[in-house]
């Protein structure tokens, strides 16, 4: 294995271990999964109640439209709160504890520290997504599944979580205190989500302002439409946020 990979993996393991021991990660997981499970039962109840009426419609909405995607949409809403809280200590906590120099002194370059931290948080978030997906998947043999639509929505959610995590890690790299990092990440994420609200209210559906908004790129995927433009938008956002975080960490080493 190359040094770069070993270093990054060591930082990822360190972050994972810290997340597993920290009560915050467990509490967030328990509360959000309980909330999602409760909503899943409500959505399922609604789906079962309307089954007879929908049977008369030839192309009516199915289980994924009425249960799977709305559940993932709720996860997306929760992510705006959960991801900043999960990422806030990634680098701001290291800086505050004085442990960041230990990573520098181990010869780990800034970009590998950032990547390692990011992968650690991303692993937790993907597990969170997988546990949420397990709820509708538990009924895969009991009802008709639109696998394509579910896959597209899952991809959209995974990209969104990855983007929010990158924003969270970037904010954590700039903040002196974890709470400031969480607040900054929340504001940036909400701003990115709703940057085009004004334009939409004015009836403008295209243009740069709509392209900038995260909602523009997630909503088609939740409807089952995957476009390479949307994927590229998320990848660019992730790369930009991580590059900023690495640059900030490099400056830390310069400034001391």
């Amino acid at each position: 294995m190359s040094h770069a990979f070993v270093n990054t993996l060591a930082v990822t393991r360190l972050e994972w271990r810290r997340l597993l021991v920290r009560p915050l990660a467990w509490v967030l997981a328990a509360l959000t999964l309980a909330w999602l499970a409760w909503n899943f039962t409500l959505l399922l109840g609604g789906f079962l109640a309307g089954q007879i009426q929908r049977a008369a419609l030839p192309d009516g909405p199915g289980f994924i439209d009425l249960v799977g995607v709305p559940l993932l949409a709720q996860l997306a809403q929760l992510a705006f709160l959960v991801v900043p809280l999960l990422c806030m200590s990634a680098l701001a906590g290291e800086r505050r504890n004085g442990t960041l120099p230990l990573l520098f002194a181990a010869g780990v370059p800034a970009w590998r520290i950032v990547l390692g931290k990011y992968l650690g948080v991303l692993g937790w978030l993907l597990l969170w997504l997988a546990l949420t997906l397990a709820m509708p998947l538990a009924l895969m043999h009991a009802t008709h599944f639109d696998w394509g639509k579910l896959a597209a929505a899952t991809l959209g959610l995974a990209l969104m979580l990855a983007a929010l995590a990158a924003i969270g890690v970037a904010c954590s790299s700039f903040a002196s205190h974890p709470a400031l990092a969480a607040a900054a990440a929340l504001v940036v994420a909400l701003a990115l989500w709703g940057v085009n609200l004004g334009a939409q209210m004015a009836g403008v559906n295209g243009g740069a302002i709509n392209w900038l908004a995260m909602s523009t790129h997630l909503q088609p995927m939740l409807r089952g439409l995957v476009s390479s433009t949307d994927i590229v938008w998320f990848v660019l956002l992730i790369a930009l946020a991580l590059a900023l975080a690495a640059r900030r960490l490099d400056a830390d080493k310069e400034r001391g």
Partner: protein, 254 residues
């Protein structure tokens, strides 16, 4: 005191006109030093003299503004990855990841330095035994006392058998028994060929374990020379002469 300098004259560390500004003021200026394998050098100075800045640069945690650092003949600034295998650093106040146990700390440090598998397990067991950390092995670092953290930090610094050991105030918060054990450990490392830099406020610490002493004042090297255990008064005179009056003594080459 008998000389503890190893027979080998191999130069482990060479600083060449190292300079660094911090918070708008000169922290270290034109610092040049050499350190041989098996040599223990005490770094003395009042608060703000530039000791910790110097050690952070040597450990690779802080980039110098100018100057060079050679580690075993290689340019450390060009190849910062050398820090992984060749330097062990105990920073001031021994920062720890509070969520990790003592064993996990050692594992994390080992992995960050490219160790793994059986080699890491063996090194971890050996250093835990050597520093008598067995009762603390499964305890979270966040609940350790400052003295216990110092010992953990020391264990992390020694885990990968570095060629250069950089210790920033290692005796902080240690009780007298632990201080004696620390001195024995430093001597043991030097006898094994490790070069050691020890920053301290305690002159007794320097005369007890060091072969050489360097005194920094306002970021510049004011004294660099040998030190003897029975010459505490001379060291005290030199140190206070520099610290109180800013007196300058031309730095002698090691």
């Amino acid at each position: 005191m008998t000389s503890r300098i190893s027979d080998s004259p191999r130069t482990v560390l060479r600083l060449h006109r190292l300079s660094r500004r911090r918070a708008g003021r000169v922290a270290v200026q034109d610092l040049s030093l050499q350190l041989q394998a098996g040599q223990v050098m005490g770094l003395l100075g009042v608060n703000g003299a530039g000791k910790s800045t110097t050690l952070s640069m040597i450990a690779g945690a802080l980039r110098p503004d100018s100057g060079g650092i050679e580690l075993n003949g290689e340019d450390f600034l060009e190849h910062p990855v050398l820090a992984r295998t060749q330097i062990g650093w105990l920073p001031e106040r021994a920062p720890v990841w509070a969520e990790l146990s003592v064993e996990e700390h050692l594992d994390a440090h080992g992995r960050l330095r490219g160790m793994g598998g059986a080699a890491l397990r063996q090194a971890r067991t050996a250093i835990i035994e050597r520093l008598e950390l067995q009762p603390l092995a499964r305890r979270l670092a966040g609940v350790l006392s400052q003295g216990q953290r110092q010992r953990l930090g020391l264990a992390c610094a020694l885990l990968h058998r570095p060629a250069l050991l950089v210790l920033d105030e290692p005796a902080n918060a240690l009780d007298p028994v632990q201080v004696a054990a620390l001195r024995a450990l430093i001597r043991e490392q030097a006898a094994a060929g490790t070069a050691v830099i020890l920053s301290t406020h305690l002159l007794a610490e320097v005369t007890a374990v060091c072969d050489r002493v360097a005194i920094l004042h306002e970021g510049t090297l004011r004294h660099d020379g040998p030190v003897r255990a029975d010459d505490h008064a001379a060291l005290e005179k030199t140190f206070f002469g520099i610290a109180m009056n800013g007196g300058t003594e031309p730095a002698r080459a090691a």
